[in-house]
């Protein structure tokens, strides 16, 4: 049994609690993850760390002993893995299916360890655990060597920018602490890591079960010259300390405005350090000011101003000038601010059951900014088992790829390699609200990279290509009250959610402005449709998908509009509702007035309606809801 006394200064606790607490208050904190293949012993290693640092209480230990006998895999011995396999469902299956966080402390540091699962289908959980880690412990079973899972996890750890990796060659006791076996595994991994341009890991031969090279150097591996695991974890550099070297930047989370005399900007420093008097720039606006104070709460009012704040701290800053600054903006060093851009290349880990839809508008969150973003079809997907680049039209659950994306307005960013806080983002499905992807920005795409920009004439095709869609006129025709506007509205919402640029022309926005000089005589009806047709055509020239919802009773005018645009771009949608049904609905009470004779020239009553002869789409509203009708039209659009 390894001596754990040195890791809980029990003597000091008993004799001088004041000194112990004062020392403990100065501890730093390291977050790390353990990963590796299913049976490589992750849970056992964590259980061992908890046990050796005396984080297991007597009642937990007796429950553990009982559970070990019942469902443990170590016979009568304690099964440390049972300590960490939390959820009841997991305990029954004997596997870890989600991220579990554990805590322990040594004299020097407090540790938070994320136990992440080994199965491929839970890549997203591993990414969750790895995203906040300073270090990764990659476990390998000495008998098995480097497996596909090991490579996958190493790649993910590298992708997520974890700078420190420990290759823990576990179960060394089962290979008689054989140095040759250890060297062979390390060489195998080093070869693989070099291909990834990954920082070489620190390799340590250990036994989680027996405790070798965990808290101190083991006598069983005299040939190993490096540190034991825990001493290494106690001294490795923290990510936040590294971030202090970066230029100052703080995304604004919240504007603190208790009264007219105080206006502070609250946030957590993404990088660098800041002092009162420092010149700062607000990005993206570019306005500059000077830090007036760094405010915090203290019992003594004279202590409420800090002299300095560093990366990782949550503070409230006040500025000397009254300038515009709100949530989403970044306050940064005036001479070295992050950039803003709206087109990027990024790596993406897809985390949702529903696969990525190129062209759809997702919500993109980066720092404290939330914008709408569209992803193009992946440049390539990565086979995480051998790092091969694969052609891909989309990304499914747990798939990783490189994509280009465009946001609807510029976002402040830094490349992920330079700043985890300013270069990482998530994508959210706007309908289900699920977090569907984690992304790491590589760089912004300059305009020169944008082939559309190089086109000499910005013509109809160029407008359409930039929007990534085929312009169309969806011409809804039908009786008053047939449901044209309702269906057109439902359709526009769906198209919009799918990232399409649309515009809906209907009585509300046309009759009150452009056509307010027109009445309801036949001549005026024709002129009404002509104008709408011309406006719709201009909008398709601009690349839009135009939806029009007008009775448009005459075949000739509809055909006139059809002739204005290229063949196939005019889609006539006949909202076919029998007169008696429309009249029974009479949403606006117009049929009643027409029957009473107070409303003249009413289509279907005293003015004719000419149904289309060969419409592209017919919607029977007595059978379909507006939503279903919209789906029918979307299905048609997808096909054509």
């Amino acid at each position: 049994m390894v001596d754990a006394q040195s890791y809980q200064a029990e003597a000091l606790i008993g004799q001088d609690i004041e000194a112990y607490l004062a020392a403990h208050e100065e501890k730093t904190m390291l977050r790390f993850i353990t990963c590796g293949s299913v049976d490589d012993g992750k849970s056992t290693l964590i259980g061992r760390l908890l046990y050796d640092s005396k984080m297991i209480f007597d009642d937990q230990l007796s429950a553990l002993e009982a559970a070990s006998k019942k469902s443990g895999t170590q016979g009568e011995a304690i099964d440390f893995a049972l300590l960490v396999d939390g959820l009841a469902a997991e305990r029954e299956q004997g596997i870890t299916i989600d991220v579990a966080y554990r805590f322990f402390a040594t004299e020097k540091r407090k540790f938070i360890v994320a136990d992440t699962p080994g199965h491929e289908q839970y890549t997203r959980n591993m990414v969750t655990g790895a995203s906040t880690a300073d270090l990764a412990v990659l476990l390998v079973d000495a008998r098995q060597g480097i497996l596909t899972q090991t490579r996958r996890h190493a790649y993910l750890v590298h992708l997520l920018g974890i700078k420190h990796i420990v290759l823990a060659v576990n179960k060394m006791d089962l290979v008689d602490f054989d140095q040759m076996r250890f060297d062979e595994i390390v060489a195998d991994f080093t070869h693989f890591a070099a291909n990834l341009e990954m920082t070489p890991p620190l390799a340590i031969p250990i036994s989680g079960l027996a405790g070798d090279n965990i808290t101190q150097k083991s006598a069983n591996t005299p040939w190993y010259a490096g540190p034991a695991l825990l001493p290494h974890l106690e001294t490795v550099e923290l990510a936040e300390d590294a971030a202090q070297q970066a230029p100052f930047a703080m995304p604004v989370q919240w504007v603190n405005r208790p009264n007219l005399d105080f206006r502070g900007f609250s946030g957590r420093l993404a990088g660098g350090t800041v002092k009162p008097g420092d010149k700062v720039r607000i990005v993206p606006s570019g306005k500059t000011s000077t830090i007036a104070s760094i405010v915090t709460m203290a019992a003594d009012a004279s202590q409420c101003d800090l002299a300095e704040a560093v990366a990782g701290q949550s503070v409230t800053l006040t500025l000397k000038d009254e300038i515009d600054c709100s949530r989403g903006d970044v306050i940064a060093a005036a001479d070295n601010p992050p950039l803003a851009a709206d087109r990027f290349e990024a790596s993406l880990v897809w985390m949702d059951e529903t696969e990525m839809l190129p062209g759809r508008a997702y919500e993109l969150r980066i720092g404290t900014q939330a914008v709408s973003a569209r992803i193009q079809a992946p440049k390539y997907a990565v086979n995480v088992n051998n790092m091969e680049h694969l052609a891909a039209a989309s990304l499914g659950l747990n798939e990783i790829g490189v994509v280009e994306l465009a946001t609807d307005r510029p976002v402040v960013f830094a490349p992920f390699a330079d700043s985890q806080k300013l270069g990482s983002f998530v994508l959210i499905d706007k309908l289900t609200n699920a977090t569907v992807a984690a992304g790491m920005l590589h760089f912004s795409l300059r305009r020169a990279h944008n082939i559309h920009w190089q086109a000499v004439d910005v013509d109809r095709a160029a407008h359409a290509a930039l929007k990534g869609q085929q312009p169309k006129i969806l011409w809804f025709t039908g009786l008053s009250g047939s449901g044209k506007s309702t269906i057109a509205n439902a359709l526009e919402k769906k198209l919009h959610a799918n990232g399409k640029h649309t515009f809906l022309l209907d009585g509300d926005n046309v009759r009150h402005g452009l056509n307010k000089d027109l009445g309801f005589t036949d001549a005026d009806r024709i002129e009404n449709i002509r104008r709408i047709g011309e406006v719709a055509k201009l909008m398709t020239d601009a690349g839009l998908i135009v939806l029009t919802a007008f009775i448009s009773p005459f075949r000739a005018e509809r055909d006139m509009v059809r002739a204005l645009v290229p063949a196939g771009d005019f889609i006539e949608v006949h909202v076919d509702t029998p007169l008696d049904v429309a009249e029974r609905r009479d949403v606006k009470g117009l049929y009643k007035k027409a029957r009473a004779g107070t409303l003249k020239n009413f289509t279907g009553i005293d003015s004719p309606y000419e149904p289309p002869e060969t419409p592209e789409i017919v919607v029977n509203t007595t059978e379909l809801s507006a939503d279903e009708a919209a789906d029918v039209i979307i299905a048609y659009l997808d096909k054509h």
Binding site: I13, F57, A100, Y101, W254, P258, R268, T368, I428
Partner: protein
Amino acid sequence: MPSLTHLQQLEAESIEIMREVVAQAENPVMLYSVGKDSAAMLHVAKKAFFPSPPPFPLLHVDTTWKFQEMYKLREKAAKEAGMELIVYKNPEAEAQGINPFDHGPLHTDMWKTEGLKQALDKYGFDAAFGGARRDEEKSRAKERVFSFRSENHQWDPKNQRPEIWSLYNARKAKGESIRVFPMSNWTELDIWQYIRLENIEIVPLYFAAPRPTVERDGLLLMVDDERFPLNEGEEPVTRSVRFRTLGCYPLTGAVESEAASLNEVIQEMLLTTTSERQGRAIDHDASASMEKKKQQGYF
């Protein structure tokens, strides 16, 4: 610059979480149980929004069976923070006189689980801060910081949103709500150290004092008021005791102790050999009981 200490890091993270909730949620509330974890959480909230008061109310889901000293501190703490205090008592439980002596598990179900659901529905809170820590219990170790509840307040452990970096996604469908645990990564020792460092007021019951107690089912219970039904021949005995965790007084076991100061309490805690929740009757049934309770809507 030196590295941030672990307490500075934890505080900064908790502050960031609280501000995100305020920026993203429509109607947040902080669940306040008057215990030491609540006290630390409330203190962090005050720091997060200073010089403004925290921009949400405090909600205490009362069971009417808390210790008297808890009720005293409750009013005082809310007043000092400049926050509105909402006290909610499940009217059905009140009408039926549900109590821990006669009704067993129904007491927790009706007062706490049901009471909480009712209070959140009544005021339309869409995000509720709770002081739970991941080191308390196994199922909590796996819960996200932003934990979603269905319209029926249920937790689905198999379907948790990935929570990556500190990019918290608080978007939700109508009717859904979020429980937010800003203190997720704190341990019991961290909480004690923070209370010590920041000089946070806590209920005196955490410190040892002579108190009237009786021993029942292996738990040392305090006779906090005249509603405590004594068995035939049972006499309260004055013992020097303190509490490691506070809840309803008939359900909360005391430990015999002489630790009357904060340092002594921390010292005792560090040298102790049983984990914190052991004093709570609620976890004793099955070892997966907390997970079940949470799926039913327990906080």
